[in-house]
């Protein structure tokens, strides 16, 4: 119980620190960014930390919500809503459906799993950070960014389909998904022979 409290206390303190830092550097938007970023990262941490796999799945809710919030801050409303609708409404519901029958409290905490996850994420971050830092020309730092324009669904649709570059990829993805769906149904379908009665072994009248 002690480690549990300590972990969540650290998480809370980290959130407060991030919120304070965000507010002091970016005002209301900075605060919102800090909140969404800590939701995203904190959800991932809790997902690694929790012993119960169902609690881990629920922690993903915070991660998906945080990512949606970041999209909102960037002015990408459509992406944010799609994130909620697809990841929370579809994928998270499916994950929960899969793991829901596990008991509330199970097994001991695998600290190696937490460490491994953190190491992987940290490594990925370091790699991406190095790549980004190599490409940015730091000399010409831009001034304050203009507020993002709201994305209308019509513009997204027109830009997506009329530009002649995404249509083929879009249609191909749709076809691949349909094929995968049909294949899954075919594999999962019970064969007709499964329903046949086992042959009588004789004896009983």
């Amino acid at each position: 119980m002690g480690t549990e409290r300590a972990f969540y206390a650290c998480l809370g303190l980290g959130t407060l620190a991030a919120a304070g830092w965000g507010t002091s550097t970016g005002g209301v938007e900075g605060l919102l960014f800090a909140v969404f970023a800590t939701l995203t990262l904190g959800g991932g941490l809790v997902c690694l930390w929790e012993r119960s796999v169902v609690r881990s799945a629920f922690a993903l809710l915070a991660t998906f919500g945080g990512v949606a919030g970041l999209f909102l801050l960037l002015g990408a409303d459509f992406l944010a809503m799609a994130q909620i609708l697809i990841y929370v409404g579809g994928i998270l519901a499916l994950i929960l459906f899969g793991v829901m029958l596990s008991p509330p409290d199970m097994g001991e905490r695998k600290l190696s799993r937490v460490g491994l996850g953190l190491a992987a994420v940290g490594g990925a971050f370091a790699w991406v950070g190095a790549k980004v830092a190599a490409t940015v020309s730091w000399a010409q730092a831009p001034g304050p960014l203009a507020p993002p324009e709201q994305s209308h669904a019509r513009e997204i649709g027109v830009g997506f389909l009329a530009a002649d570059q995404y249509v083929v990829a879009f249609e191909l993805a749709a076809v691949v998904l349909t094929v995968a769906l049909v294949a899954a149904v075919y594999i999962a379908r019970r064969k007709i022979t499964d329903f046949e009665e086992p042959a009588e072994t004789g004896g009983s009248a």
Binding site: R55, A82, V88, G89, A93, L96, L101, H152
Partner: protein, 379 residues
Amino acid sequence: MEHGNLIHELLGGVAPEGVPAWAIVLVTAVIGVSLLIGVVSVIAMFSVWLERKVSGHIQCRYGPMYVGGWHGWAQSIADGVKLLMKEDMIPLGADRVLFVLAPALVLGSIFGAMAAMPLAPGFYFADINLGVFFILGMSALTTIGVIMSGWASNSKWSLYGAMREAAQVVAYEIPLGISLLAPLMVAGTFNLLEASEAQSGWFGMKWFVFQNPFLIPAAILFFVAALAETKRAPFDLPEAESELVAGFMTEYSGIRWSFFFMEEYAAMFLMSLVGAVFFFGGFESPFTSLAEWAFVTEAGADGSALRTAGLFELPLLYHVTAGTVLAAKALFGVFLMMWVRWTVPRVRIDQVMTMGYKYLTPLALVVVLFAGTWEWLLS
């Protein structure tokens, strides 16, 4: 946000001097959320009373008759007070954190969805470009709350209810979304206010269902899918009081339990409202046209001007008429849902799945194909 929001309108679009920006954001947020909670609570309380009256009359009895005098109108208020007074119980084996979090998530997300709800032209909490998309996303969040409540209760009944909810919602979200695609193609917008505007004309009868005949089957599909999405009978399998005690809310009592009910009635109203806006004309009706003709005499009174005009720049009576028309349409949808509940027996879970995957989804796809072809040929 190009038009600001209700609070901004109330302030006259001008920030008072000497007040920092964050304070204005905070105050408008607090006022807006309080208003929203008030509206949602009143809708939920009225719907509970209506449900009891409707079920009573369908079963040849009166329903509540005593509390408050006329037809027991205060019954819901009395029930609310009682529920607030009840002991707050959390089962010993429950996952305390998630058990407490679940009703909050359910109610919070439906409040969020309600923020995209227009009350009258120019009277809205948040004018969201992707209004209907936002509403669908927030309804998806309530599903997670229901699953959370079922699992956290650590009870077999609750768990069965939660599993049914997960299976049912995954199955019915597809036909719900696809059947909405048909009116979205006609409207060309996700915004509820703009969709309502697109139906003005023909003396208030230029509803989408009359513009495109394939929207009539789409409306029926939407209604069935919305019934399943809001867990209403005959799709109330997550609750299923005759099999699962009370399904996912078996272990809940008092005010937490009532949160689930508030969510259910608020979601019913919201789904009916989305249906009313995207199929049945939104604010438009002969009454609205009459009110527009009688009260809106100033120049530039076409649909777009009405929307960009502020709340108090046009005669209030026009707004009241338009808002009442939309509320009446939405409430009629709620009444239809109640009517179905007290008429049709509950279906089995395999029948729910069969209907969702084998019939509703392909039908919705076909309807969208025909509706799109019609639009394409006419344009």
